[in-house]
Symmetry: C3
Subunit: 658 residues, 3 copies
């Protein structure tokens, strides 16, 4: 449980560096990330390398006792490189090259850019591979930020044809898999393949899905190129990438396979405006962020690299890039920090050390103000510094949660490609199920569709659109060994080729669930069929409701909507939901299932969340009002941090060892 910070020595006079390093150490910071974005300083002109300043910066930080994460600068190819090779620019959906003047303007498909990236990464690695203060390398920065995964450059189009050829072998197979006889979309050679963009009406969904897989694979191979280059130049320490929040444009599980540590950049306030929340919720949590935003991503990224993960960038004050940039409620920086550790983080690193008075992020807070004085976060940082040692004396091993929630990037893509009903956002649905579980006080592991399911008391699949036989088999096995399964609507409704399964939805999950879907009723925003589940206020379906083929129905209908349509079915202990249900109804369903397996749940006060790590139990209050812990949670032995009443932004921590 270490603290870190992101630092840009190139932004400040070198005379300042030693003072900065000393202040970091005093504030309890032990890890500092540098280097990413610095290409124009490392190589101001083609081939004119200037590493001396970075040598000095590394030396200064190392002398102060700081450990360094060295970032590769490939997120910001400099102007001379763009001018020499304009074909490295990504191309947007309208066919326009994306201009120089911010960052991430490169196209993942560009062979030229891969050559250039390999070169600069190799040069950095050759120089710093063996520096003892460097404890990790970060490859690039925030892959995909600003909508940069999908590019339609000539290189991307050509690469797509090759990718398809590799996957399908011949065009007959491809035409058949896609069903491209429809609307005469058949091709007679891979060179005829177009990117699915600019079509008169919607492009072919299977082609779009393949294009998204292809673009995701481009990130995988681009990241692997950096990893291989670093290793080839002698780097033996951990390699990391910093992922983002609410970002699903590529398959992070695939990329993470080549990394040692997954990290993510946690900006709870900025993302509140991007999440699918109503206005009242956004107003209520405007200075705190949604109580499940950070937790969901902590649990997601913990799943990437065998449990090793960091927060690489933690918001320390207002950011600059949201629609309206709120200041955090006093205490939230401390809360967010503890919460990351509660979910198992190795390092929480703040972005950034000192607010820059210039450029795009000049309104992005740092630990220091632009004039070098301490920002409002400083005292919270010191509080965390002082509280960590006491916690570190406990057992802080992160263990498997009782509930697994399956998340599949291709499920999000499938619902974006073919929403069928307005506002069907699969990520929102996953977040809603996650919230319902967490409001019951449960710890959750997020797992990919390929994960082992052993040891989970409950496995929930909010919307596993593409399900194959292997998954069905693993679910059967888990079910047989006593896991409770809860499967959401739309699961199994597509084959990997984006076709409706031969046995209709839920395809391979039909034996498990005992249902067959014969019609879908897309619910417009005003259509909210009502249902009331035991112990829950009146709820409703929204966006999507399936109708079951009665002739093929093997499951028992457990709950119905008021109009008589089936809502929840049970087949030998496997629950299936025919609809997207409101979050309170999901809590009722999870509570019912928990009771069935004797798993304790606690309905937490609004805004309060719990999380266990080793023998520690953490409670967090996201509400802007004080909250009391439920009586049965109050620890007899008292608190390590805080108490029974959590003030706004309050944190309480106690031991649950016995």
């Amino acid at each position: 449980m270490q603290l870190g910070v992101c630092y840009y020595p190139e932004h400040w006079p070198s005379q300042r560096w030693a003072d900065d390093a000393r202040a970091m150490v005093e504030a309890g910071i032990s890890v500092v990330r540098i280097g990413e974005f610095a290409w124009s300083r490392l190589e101001p002109r083609s081939g004119e390398l200037q590493f001396e300043w970075l040598d000095r910066a590394v030396a200064t930080l190392a002398e102060a006792g700081l450990s360094i994460v060295m970032g590769t600068p490939t997120a910001t190819p400099p102007k001379w490189l763009v001018d020499a090779h304009p074909e490295i620019l990504a191309v947007d959906e309208h066919g326009r090259p994306r201009g120089f003047g911010s960052r991430r303007h490169y196209c993942f498909a560009s062979p030229v850019y891969r050559t250039q990236s390999e070169r600069i990464v190799r040069l950095m690695a050759e120089r710093y591979a063996n520096h003892p203060a460097i404890i990790a390398w970060q490859a690039d920065n925030e892959y995909g930020c600003h909508d940069t995964i999908l590019s339609y450059s000539p290189a991307a189009r050509e690469g797509f044809g090759h990718w398809l050829e590799k996957h399908y072998g011949d065009v007959e197979t491809l035409n058949h898999a896609w069903g491209s006889v429809f609307w005469s979309m058949e091709v007679t050679g891979f060179e005829q393949i177009e990117a699915p963009v600019g079509t008169v009406t919607e492009p072919h969904p299977a082609i779009v899905l393949d294009y998204r897989r292809y673009c995701s694979d481009l990130v995988v191979t681009y990241n692997r190129l950096q990893v291989d280059t670093l290793r080839g130049a002698g780097v033996s320490v951990d390699i990391i990438h910093n992922f983002m929040g609410l970002f699903t444009e590529f398959d992070h599980f695939d990329v993470a396979r080549d990394l040692d540590i997954a990290s993510w950049d946690s900006y709870p306030l900025g993302f509140l405006e991007r999440g699918a929340h109503d206005e009242a919720t956004r107003d209520y949590y405007r200075q705190q962020g949604h109580p499940d935003f950070a937790g969901f991503h902590h649990d997601l990224y913990r799943a990437m690299c065998q449990g090793r993960w960091w927060v690489m960038e933690q918001q320390p004050g207002p950011v600059n890039w949201a629609i309206s940039n709120a200041a955090p409620l006093p205490g939230m920086v401390r809360l967010w920090s503890h919460e990351a550790f509660a979910h198992g983080a190795e390092v929480v690193s703040y972005f950034r050390w000192r607010q820059a008075p210039f450029a795009q992020e000049q309104m992005h807070a740092g630990l220091l103000l632009p004039d070098g004085s301490q920002s409002r976060a400083w005292q919270e940082l010191l509080a965390v510094r002082d509280e960590l040692p006491g916690l570190a004396q406990q057992d802080i091993t992160t263990t498997q949660a009782s509930v697994a929630l399956m998340f599949d990037y291709s499920a999000v893509w499938a619902c974006q490609i073919q929403p069928h009903a307005a506002d069907f956002d699969a990520l929102e649905l996953h977040l809603s199920w996650y919230s319902a579980l967490r409001r019951l006080g449960l710890d959750v592991d997020i797992i990919p569709p390929t994960a082992a399911l052993d040891g989970y008391a409950m496995v929930v699949l909010p919307c596993q659109v593409i399900a194959d036989e292997a998954l069905a088999q693993r679910l059967e096995t888990a079910h047989a060994s006593g896991s409770r399964l809860i499967i959401g609507a739309r699961s199994g409704s597509r084959t990997p080729d984006f076709q409706i399964p031969a046995n209709l939805a839920p395809g391979p999950l039909a034996p498990l669930t005992g249902v067959t879907i014969d019609q879908v009723d897309g619910l417009r925003p005003g259509a909210r069929p009502r249902l009331t589940l035991p112990g829950s206020p009146q709820g409703h379906g929204l966006r999507w409701r399936e109708q079951l083929d009665e002739n093929r129905l093997k499951a028992r209908i457990v709950h119905r909507f008021e109009d008589g349509m089936p809502a929840v079915t049970d087949h030998q202990g496997v629950t299936y939901l025919t609809a997207w249900l409101d979050e309170d109804s999901m809590m009722a369903i999870f509570a019912e299932a928990s009771r069935a397996i004797d798993m304790a749940t606690t309905v937490l006060p609004e805004g309060v969340r719990l999380r266990r790590r080793g023998t520690l139990c953490f409670a967090f209050n996201y509400a802007p009002e004080p909250r009391h812990l439920p009586d049965h949670l109050i620890p007899a032995a008292g608190y390590l941090v805080g108490g029974t009443t959590l003030p706004p932004a309050g944190v309480s921590i106690w031991s649950i060892a016995h």
Copy 2:
């Protein structure tokens, strides 16, 4: 009164074809449409023709006793053709060629595509012109779908110059007709003509109107090329095109002049989301469609080809292309089918036989599910099959309605080009007048502005923006012979050259109406001047209100708004409206006019509609609740179908012969 279906043999194994044909016949289907979209199967590579599979499909269907409508495949030029001649692609308003990967990517102005279209149509016609099972040909498919009428390709621009030269003769005439001295827009040669697109502020309205006429004429000549090619190759059976709902981008009357039968594709649920309805209406009718959507289009397309018309594609379940795709209320497929026959359809053909498990329309319902089992529509189809013979024993001659509603495509264009007041949608206004008439139980003929007006008790012009002397003359004649005329605001406000008439609006209609408009008050959404008409709840004007020149006023002011402004005038029995009025107020005006000519009206229960065909009277219940027929409509001799109480989606039919 026949049933049909759309079938894609190329989507299914040929072994399946005979079974499909047999099942169609058993379900009461006698007509099957095939062939459209199949170009890549008929000609997989340039000049490599493969008609054998289609020969076999035709033979299989014919052997089962089915009649065939053969579609030409020009809506989907295949990839090899696009690659060989990229200039056939349409170009959008931003100058981007519209990409391959869906359908309708061709530009109507492309000479190359006309050559290619003529070739493939001729080849098909030469092969099948004399096949006895083929009872009709469909030219192309849904001209204009997905916003494909307006193209800005180089070919389109060049063609526009030629079109203008043909229409105006010389640039002096053109400059004068357009008034292009304004803002120095004069040209000195037709080669200087630009398409009206991409201008700094709004382009010149007269140029836009001419461009829309030109693009409409391109559809006419493109369709005529197909008709002439078919005839030239020996086709002697009916030639059809399938038009669409709520689609006004070209003048359908002009295109239909070259056809034998007009047909349209009826998707009441999908179009509910596109119509100008409030949220409450959309929620109420979400599984039924708006009660006047199908009726309006039935009556519109009946006007195209001397009364001969079909529904070529009838929605049999949820579609895939709306914002939210609702499942129909049980019974609606039957209701929609009967309603089409009530309005005079020769054939109601369902789209499609079997839901495809692949490609863009995989979520579009068919009569069969993707696995070949029967969908929920199947029982409704059988009900219609069983009810039709009883009806066919009656006199089913479609006769002239008592009310004519004038509809002019150029009126819609004129209001789009120059709305002047937010949300002034001329099509919406026509639909509102149509609804007001139909809610009074009246049958309506929709007529073009060139139609003869003989025999109509009432002729209504909701918004006949461009009125010429010939129309004024025909209206005078109708008026003289006893027709009641009701003329809406904005009528006669433009000359055919899109100028304000020399005598101001309503131009040639001034003598008839006795009014002169000297100022228009554009009503923003919150401005709703109130008025209360006799026997009607409080109503209001919206969007548009005209002020009358009192010096030139010859009409009598019959009704005023609460603020004293004139609302309704009468000049020797000709009613003029100064404003767009709410639908209830329009009912009051139509009821008042009907009383004046002793024409009976019945205020129908919400959601109920009547329609007479020959000696049959049909009643339809679009409400999701039961409805009772008004007492005076209850037939003494009982019902052929249904009864006095109409359940949701209910149909009642009785004889009105005496």
Copy 3:
């Protein structure tokens, strides 16, 4: 105080001209503007000049006794010029040349267009420089209309590099000023400079600000080219340009420096829809316009040319270009005319003489209808004609107001470039402060940030984002000499290089205000922290709230929000606001400050405004209901025009001489 009109002789038969001129004179019109937009008539083909018709038009108008303003026709380059030099077209943010077919399609950066403009202006000036009837020239027409200031043509990009080189000297200076080390945006030569457009995420704010300054300067030099050309060809009379409402895309103060008279085009109804008003306000004032729209612009443009200003185009009826185009309430044309004179206008000129029956503006009202008969405005024009002589007998010298409101175009740009909080529109904020002052019955001078501040009892700076030492010094001086200063949030928050000041915000204004801002809380729309000021209903902050560094706070906190955060501070009589406050709260603050300096205020009835000119006091009623003047305003000596009760659109005028 003269009346004028805009006239297009080229739109009408020459036989009509003399009649039109005679009617103008009879209506009291003495000034007529002609010529702008007529290039295609003056030069139908390259080099083929046809000035004879204009000679005749000038002669006809002069013979009738009218004074002429001659417009240069450069706003509408004709088609032959565009075809010969397509590179003169502006290029939009998507890289598309802006098409011919309306107006203002030229790029201010095009050297070719400058050459062509110089040529046609010189030819006109050589012909008419010494014509005795021509009393002024108008350069071009409405610079920037239809979003035409920012162009991204190759010429514009190249010019930007030169502009930067001139301003920064070398790239090291530029890189440092911009802070372009951030994200590796450094350049090594001015030829590497790109326009800030099409970037992946937001472009660098300092570059955008420089690009906007550069584009503003292009207008300055383009206008200067016209002025210099006119003078060079012998023009000695006044040179004018007609600016617009709510338009801030270039620095009008800079352009006006080369003009003799500033004028603007006043369309209160059309702009009501564009202003930042809620729906209720728009409905209430839909036929009158907002009561401060015209006044604000009158006061703004009076500041441009040493007090000399006109209304060049006054709306005389409905316009054509708003979303919904309302007809004015009867009386408003008269009211608007008097109000302009009240604020000091030399001339009020109506647009246009006669409504054109053709082209884009055919629905734009004129004094005459398209058929030549009198429009509804005619009687109002005659009323003004008859009322002016009585007023002209009084002292009508426009004198300095007691309150100065500082307006800086770059403040608007800075907030657009980096809003930080949704809907932070600096122009809206300035208008709100202006309204609060005017609702208190105060006369206001609008001043640029470079203005002398002598003689103002109160100086208010709503949002002076970029403040330099020179401004701080002048404010100190004014404060020392007794001026009350009120400074709004965000003032002084940026250096001229768009950096955060070294001492944080408010930078150079820190000594004056006694505050230092250490954090900004961006308020989302639902976040409205409450406060209640003395004598005011409950108010609230919105959009933006600053937090003060308590360690550096020297000011006294005068008012707080309900949650305890500081709202209003005072430092030795200098008021600072930490937030955007609602308009009623601003009234309370201004009233409080006025009391402190014994300046009388009057809370006017809703919709009523006062304005003094010389010894005249004018009152205007924008409400659609009658209003009474407050008792203490009722003149003992009676009224020159009107009375104590103002009907809707009423005007009262009385003498305040003693």
